[in-house]
Structures are given as structure tokens and as C-alpha cells.
Symmetry: C2
Subunit: 114 residues, 2 copies
Amino acid sequence: MADALPPIACCRSLGAPTLSDDEAEATAALFKALGDPARVKIVNLLATSEEPVCVCEFVPALGLAQPTVSHHLKKLADAGLLEREQRGKWAYFSLNPEASAGLAGLVELQEVTS
Amino acid sequence: MADALPPIACCRSLGAPTLSDDEAEATAALFKALGDPARVKIVNLLATSEEPVCVCEFVPALGLAQPTVSHHLKKLADAGLLEREQRGKWAYFSLNPEASAGLAGLVELQEVTS
């Protein structure tokens, strides 16, 4: 497994006293993954769902074609924000339990600004 | 003043029960503004600075040309994340005091996922 850590695992808070080039890259990659209205809606749908959500449910909810939906889901999963589970024919997605805490930590600016 | 509200003023939490198209667009615009390593570093520098920071200080800190730095600062200011103050020849930037709370609210997923 030579894969790089997903951004959520390696990026640092925006308010961290020092931020290396790699950390800035990883943090930016996470924000970039969320910089699309369809992806914001996907995360919103997952955040308001009790259960993992099937790819097939996102298609009508977003009004986008399935390949487009799958593309957005892959980008979010690659960033470490979503977990993917195969159930027979369909993939189901849920928010990575660490994503919420990780995202909240990313924007934790108060430590030095207040 | 027919300008649209900056994203920070109008976007909703990712965990909000309903998210309109406009809110998803505004939220995505904010994340997109932060989806660049130089901009992450700018926000990091401002978050760790007690005082507003001069454009001329970002140039050596980021190792980028001044037009590039000014471009990134403008994108962040347009998104409502930075405040700009002209002091003679130079512009000084600081984090918008509401930006920290606004960003933190954006990624507030816990309300429905925990």
C-alpha cells in the first residue's frame, strides 16, 4: 500500500502555528474536494441521513446523471470524507466518522485569533 | 449596492436539514476559495498573526510574485474571509472576525450525525 494518506488524515488546522507545504497542499485538497455545489449537497444529504445512502438515491436527489454522481462521490471518497460499502449491485456511502471532527479541526482558527 | 452577499454571509451548515441550490453554491464557493495551498497558507499566516499583515509581507513568506499574492488575497476577500485595509501605499489584510465562526458552522455536521 504505497497510497498517500487521504487529506483528512494528514492535514493540519488552518490556525496551526506552522504549516508545511505538504500540509497546506493536503488542506487545500480537502477544501477543493468540497468546492462544488453537488458535493456540498452530497455531504449535506449524508449528514442528514441516519443510514448509508445508495448511489441510486443520489441520482434523483441531485438531478444529475449517474456517472456524474459517481464522479463526485469518488472525489469525496478519495479525499477521505466518505466511506464506501458495496451491497450487491449498488455502492452505499456514508460520512467518514472522522470527517466531521477533521473538518471542524481544519477551520479551528480561534486558538490564536481570539 | 447591488453586490451579492459574500459566501460567508449567506451559506448554510453542511449539516443543515435543507440546503437550497443557492446555499449549496455559496457554500461551495467558500470551500473553493480555500482550495489552493497558497490561500491556505495566507489564512494560516493571518490566523497566527496578532496584527493585520501587509501584502508586502506575504510575498517573501509565500515565495510568490506580488501579482499572484494579490490575486489570492482578492479571492479570499471576495469570499468574505478577509478584511482589507489601505494604509498609504500598502494594503493590509486580516481575517474577518466572522470568518472563523462562519467556517466552523459550515462544517458543523454533528447535529444530525451523532
